[in-house]
Amino acid sequence: MITLKRIVQVQSFECSATVAVEQESAAFQCLAQLAADFEGCITPQLVQKELYAPLPLHACQLAIKRCVDLKMFDWIDQQQHIAQLTDLGEVMVKNSRILIPQQDLWRFYLVDDPLVPNPLVHLEWVKAEPAHHVVSKEKKGEKISGAGDATPALLKDLVDGQPSRSLADRTLRQVRDVSAKGKIHKSGTLELRLDWAPESQPRVSLSGTLQDTKKIALDQAMTGSLLPDWTYEDLWIELAAAASDSLIEDIWMIRERFGHLAIPGWFDTLDSQERKSFEKTLETPEIGLESIGIFAPSMLQQVSLFPGNETEAQRWCEWLQFEQVTNYVTPDQLRDQAQKVLGKFPFHRPQALEPDAMLAQALSRTNDPAMRHILAPADLGLWS
């Protein structure tokens, strides 16, 4: 499981704009649904026949015209009032909502991050400060800037793009038009978190509070093909290599040869727990990853360890044999335990110590209290 985090800047920008906002209106939704059910094509006659029978044909024509204005339909033949469902209309059908444009003063919260598919994380309607406040502030000597800031390209690029949901209140909306100028508002930050479990899609979430008078808590996840240039293995290896002294090629080789993700383990650098579990937690440094940006230092949990070579494996194996001895043992029992230890080295061929060799080592380490589990039974003649 990979978990990466970073702090992202939220740029907030206030300007006059036309934003189509979702609204529930069965009277219009049913027209979109009708078109969807008739291969996307709609005519006044169809509307009258299937839905609005009491309305005169002329009223049905005008209803279709209104839907064209709402970008739900496109004209196929305007003269005959024949229209077809647009992509946006399909979104409306899918979401059971229609999008009604509203020209107003809006505050856009934008995040420019390669992992955030739609930079517009949220927007809200802003109640304009009355003009007389501006005038009285100026009279009091407060400096009022009338120059304005150019609308960010990020926002301009959203015009007539795919509708998206706010990460704060989940409302569906589409930016239809933005003015050329507005005002940059206070900026804030959010925490971006990338969670990626093996065999699953990456999950990116943003959390925190949008800086404004109204605190907006965000904790929304985005899934889907967010990292098209990366596989889980790529990222894992990149992170593991950066967090350890291992070479990417070595880890790749382990992955290629033995079919699983692990880093080379060097017996002397590992603590007893890591030697026993064949796993360690890696501390990844701040890292810049191609096309997905820079992440803060993080942890790569449960990284599999793979003995660096046969010698390492031999030492590791012998060490594990003694670690297995936790009670009084006979040679037969030691042989059984040796088999289990050897099973932990499927890709190496260490030689397990024979019981006599272990007894000889125990006799040379009499100060080690653990050795008594071997020495005591031998002294008592249980080994003969």
Partner: protein, 896 residues
């Protein structure tokens, strides 16, 4: 910040400057409306009532049954039994509204009560309206000025056992007065519209913002070539080219287009053409006008054309109530009727979707629950889909989205008719919901109605207390017939100001606190002093003082006794300060009159002089107050049409904007079309108005063939524009019984002839239309009584018929001139009433409206000899009375 919105304006180079300019020019409108709203709260409307007579009750029932039938017939085919709507007949008690005897009511008061949903049978206690005294209005009959109430006023059991309360209640019931809780909705909407524009100027509203922007750039208009005309098919018809020009400009103008047209010049036709052309372009139109008739004339004409042509360009939605909509042809298109009839049929269809296919099931399943739940969503679909939504400037506020303060998808074009009667805030309420604006009217017709109370309250805001008292007393004392005043002052400073004011006007004033000045008492016109001194010296001040100002609560019994011996009770006696004439009141009505007489400079002069005399003599104070008055005048009086053409005045600013100076000449000429031919009146009827009101612009020319088109064989009159001289004998104010008798007598002649003479050409089966007009409501009441008797229609108030069984040969409309703007009739009988003073007849705009309503025959009835004499101080009326265009002679045929 509001500045962000200004940044969005596409052609805005300096948002802060524009914001400041817009704020400076629109804020006075907002402030005016805010004060007006307060005034509204302070002045609840009241009206008298009585029980209907048995005849009236029968009429009311018949008329209600008739309305029920109309509603049923507009609902199309029979629906399933279980869903068939049975019209709920409201139950209650009919009462007739009438003027309180001491206080003749204005039309607006009747209108307000007839529109109300709830009224009270007692006034507010402070600002609290007692719930238990409210009565709901279940139904109304506008024509009969009757309302159906849930209970009879005064029958509510009183909750208190206090005998005094019971006594007061009994008194109220005996007085038979109803009260209306002030409805400030329209004022609030106007105020909000001003703020909305000022604080939230979107790109779509840039043109509206530019009205207050001194650097506004107005794009050139390139007229749109129309391929196929709908109404203006004959280019040879007089004025058709002008009408076409207007339509082509309005179709292409990126902001405003203006149409100025005298009476009968085809403004309505041009509007209809424009609407149809816009509909062809797929545009949505919002049509508003200050009167229902103006809106309905357009709708009626379009619907008639659609029926004949078989082409459906327009699907209208009329915002309004059944009672207010003037045309039967338009009633089926009233929003609630359209929604209720179609929605019920839709329910039936969705329950049993015959002729539909299973593929449509999913969409019907979306619609069905929504329709079952209510009609709101369906109503929204109709409103959004309709390409012509229309109503009056006030009525349009009942549009569901506007009412709930929602933002509407803006209409492509808003057309406002009768813009001469519409103020800027009234215009802005609907205008904020459109992207382009077409303004139609005639600035030589009636101006916006101004609520004097609103103006008074605003004036009180700029000058009140001792300052207002000082100015009023100095003004009264310096008039040609001086009126003397006694003022109680609280401090020496106020006393000094009064003395200074008097000195500057060369008046003699006496400070009663200063014994040295007492010798001037016999020569003085202004007396002042502290309350104690006034009480002490009450026997020394003259007994013929007209006004006691600030003397409430003083014990002046000795003086009163002396005063009574001189002149009877003084005018200020027993009246509270607020009831008595005050400075604001004196200024308010004069400001309105000056505005009414703006085209009659000479007759406006005395009012200008009075207004100047109501200002302080001190130049600094005077300039300041003068500016404040001018600010009030410009925000309360000019119409939006005048603003576009000439502006509302500069207030001393160097920068010119549309609000101050009108559209720049070149911009205006590109957007304004004047219609110069009239198609309504016989040439003899249009002659005087043309010469007197439209000569400078060369308008109101007679269309070719008008004389032939207005041929008839009514033998009574030798001339088409006639004056029946009726010297006034009765002395009642604003009533002339002799004129009433003349009107009725002329009507009888006409009815006798009309019985056997049909209208010419295509209108043969239509009855003749007669309008009986007068300038005054008391005269209108007298005329109504006589018409009720003559027509045997006792429940009617403004529309009467003369006929026989099923056949009607004359349809009569009785109205005040102000109310009749926008309408026309074959024969107009105009009763002047006035003799001895011009009253408000000398307003050129009002007189113009009065004289331009008749198609075939105009009969002026009034004291011509007085009006033509030197005793009539109005040059305009003298001109009218001595005009050779109005003849004395009645046709010799009838005398034979």
């Amino acid at each position: 910040m509001a500045i962000e919105n200004y940044l969005s304006l596409p052609r805005c180079d300096n948002p802060l400057r524009i914001l400041k300019e817009v704020h400076a020019q629109l804020e006075p409108y907002r402030q005016y409306l805010e004060r007006a709203e307060k005034a509204f709260h302070a002045a609840a409307l009241s009206i008298g009532w009585r029980q209907p007579t048995d005849d009236e009750l029968v009429d009311l029932k018949e008329r209600r049954d008739q309305r029920g039938k109309e509603l049923s017939s507009s609902q199309g085919k029979q629906r399933r039994r279980d869903r068939k709507v049975t019209h709920v007949i409201p139950v209650g008690h009919w009462i007739m509204l009438e003027s309180i005897s001491s206080k003749p009511e204005e039309d607006q008061v009747f209108d307000a009560f007839l529109d109300a949903m709830e009224i009270y049978d007692c006034p507010a206690e402070g600002t609290r309206w007692p719930r238990e005294r409210s009565i709901s209005v279940e139904d109304r009959d506008v024509e009969m000025q009757a309302v159906l109430l849930s209970r009879i006023p005064g029958t509510q059991r009183h909750s208190t056992s206090d005998p005094k309360g019971m006594e007061e209640e009994q008194k109220e019931v005996n007085e038979r007065v109803l009260y209306l809780r002030p409805d400030t909705y329209s004022l609030r909407r106007k105020k909000e519209a001003i703020s909305e524009l000022k604080d939230r100027p979107t790109a779509e509203r840039e043109a509206l913002i530019n009205l207050a922007n001194s650097y506004a750039a107005w794009p050139v208009v390139h007229p749109h070539e129309v391929g196929q005309w709908v109404f203006l098919t004959d280019p040879a018809r007089s004025g058709a080219e002008e009408q076409r020009d207007f339509v082509q400009i309005a179709l292409k103008s990126p902001d405003f287009a203006l149409l100025q047209g005298p009476p009968g010049s085809g403004k309505t036709t041009a509007i209809c053409e424009l609407i149809c052309q816009l509909a062809r372009q797929g545009k949505r139109v919002l049509l508003v006008a200050s009167t229902h008739v103006a809106v309905d004339n357009v709708l009626e004409k379009i619907m008639e054309w659609q029926d004949v042509a078989g082409e459906k360009l327009v699907m209208p939605i009329r915002i309004g109530t059944d009672n207010r909509v003037s045309s039967d042809a338009v009633k089926p298109w009233i929003l609630h009727r359209v929604v209720s009839s179609w929605c019920e049929e839709l329910k039936d269809f969705l329950d049993n979707p015959v002729s539909s296919t299973p593929r449509g099931d999913a969409s019907r399943n979306i619609l069905h629950p929504s329709v079952q739940k209510g009609a709101d969503d369906f109503q929204n679909l109709l409103l959004e889909s309709s390409n012509l939504v229309c109503g009056t400037t006030i009525g349009i506020l009942q549009h569901p989205a506007i009412k709930e303060g929602q933002r509407l998808t803006p209409f492509d074009v808003m057309i406002i008719d009768e813009a001469s009667k519409t103020t800027l805030p009234e215009f802005l309420v609907p205008a904020l919901h459109a992207k382009r604006w077409v303004i139609v009217g005639d600035r030589r017709q009636l101006s916006p109605y101004v609520e004097e109370q609103e103006l008074r309250t605003n004036l009180t805001g700029i000058c009140h207390g001792t300052k207002a008292d000082r100015l009023l007393s100095a003004f009264l004392a310096s008039r040609r017939t001086p009126q003397f005043s006694l003022l109680a002052v609280d401090n020496d400073q106020d006393g000094k100001r009064i003395a200074d004011e008097a000195r500057a006007r060369e008046l003699v004033s006496v400070n009663l606190d200063n014994p040295d000045e007492h010798q001037s008492i016999p020569f003085a016109s202004l007396f002042y002093g502290c309350p104690e001194t006034i009480e002490a010296l009450q026997t020394q001040v003259p007994g013929d003082l007209e006004h006691l100002i600030g003397c409430e609560g003083l014990s002046l019994d000795d003086w009163r006794a002396r005063r009574k011996a001189y002149l009877g009770p003084p005018s200020g006696e027993n009246q509270s300060q607020t009831d008595r004439n005050n400075w604001a009141e004196e200024v308010a009505w004069r400001l309105i009159r000056v505005h009414e007489l703006r085209e009659n400079v000479q007759e406006a002069e005395p009012y200008h002089s009075d207004l100047a005399a109501l200002l302080p003599a001190n130049s600094t104070e005077r300039n300041e107050l003068e500016r404040a008055l001018d600010r009030l005048r410009r925000v309360s009086l000019p119409s939006v049409l005048e603003i576009f053409q000439h502006g509302a005045g500069s207030l001393g600013w160097k920068q010119k904007t549309v609000l101050t100076d009108g559209l720049p000449p070149k911009t205006l000429s590109e957007r304004l079309v004047s219609l110069s031919f009239q198609h309504r009146m016989h040439p003899a009827i249009s002659a005087f108005p043309r010469e007197r009101f439209y000569a400078s612009e060369g308008l109101l020319r007679d269309a070719t063939g008008m004389e032939a088109a207005r041929q008839w064989d009514f033998p009574r009159y030798k001339h088409r524009a006639l004056w029946l001289n009726v010297p006034r004998k009765s002395a009642r104010e604003n009533v002339c019984l002799e004129e009433v008798e003349t009107v009725i007598s002329e009507l009888r002649y006409f009815a006798d002839w009309a019985r056997s003479s049909g209208k010419p050409n295509s209108a043969q089966d239509q009855p003749w239309e007669v309008a009986i007009l007068t300038f005054y409501r008391p005269q209108e009441r007298k005329l109504r009584e006589r018409l009720q008797r003559l027509c045997r229609q006792h429940g009617r108030t403004s529309s009467f018929t003369l006929g026989d069984g099923d056949r009607i040969w004359v349809r009569i409309t009785l109205a005040t001139v102000d109310r009749y703007q926008g309408q026309e009739a074959d024969l107009v009988l105009l009763s002047f009433v006035k003799s001895g003073s011009a009253g408000f007849l000398n307003s050129p705009n009002r007189l113009n409206v009065a004289l331009t309503r008749a198609r075939y025959q105009m009969v002026l009835i009034g004291d011509r000899s007085w009006m033509a004499s030197k005793y009539c101080r109005s040059e305009l009326l003298r001109d009218l009375a001595t005009s050779p265009h109005y003849h004395h002679a009645i046709g010799w045929e009838t005398k034979r």
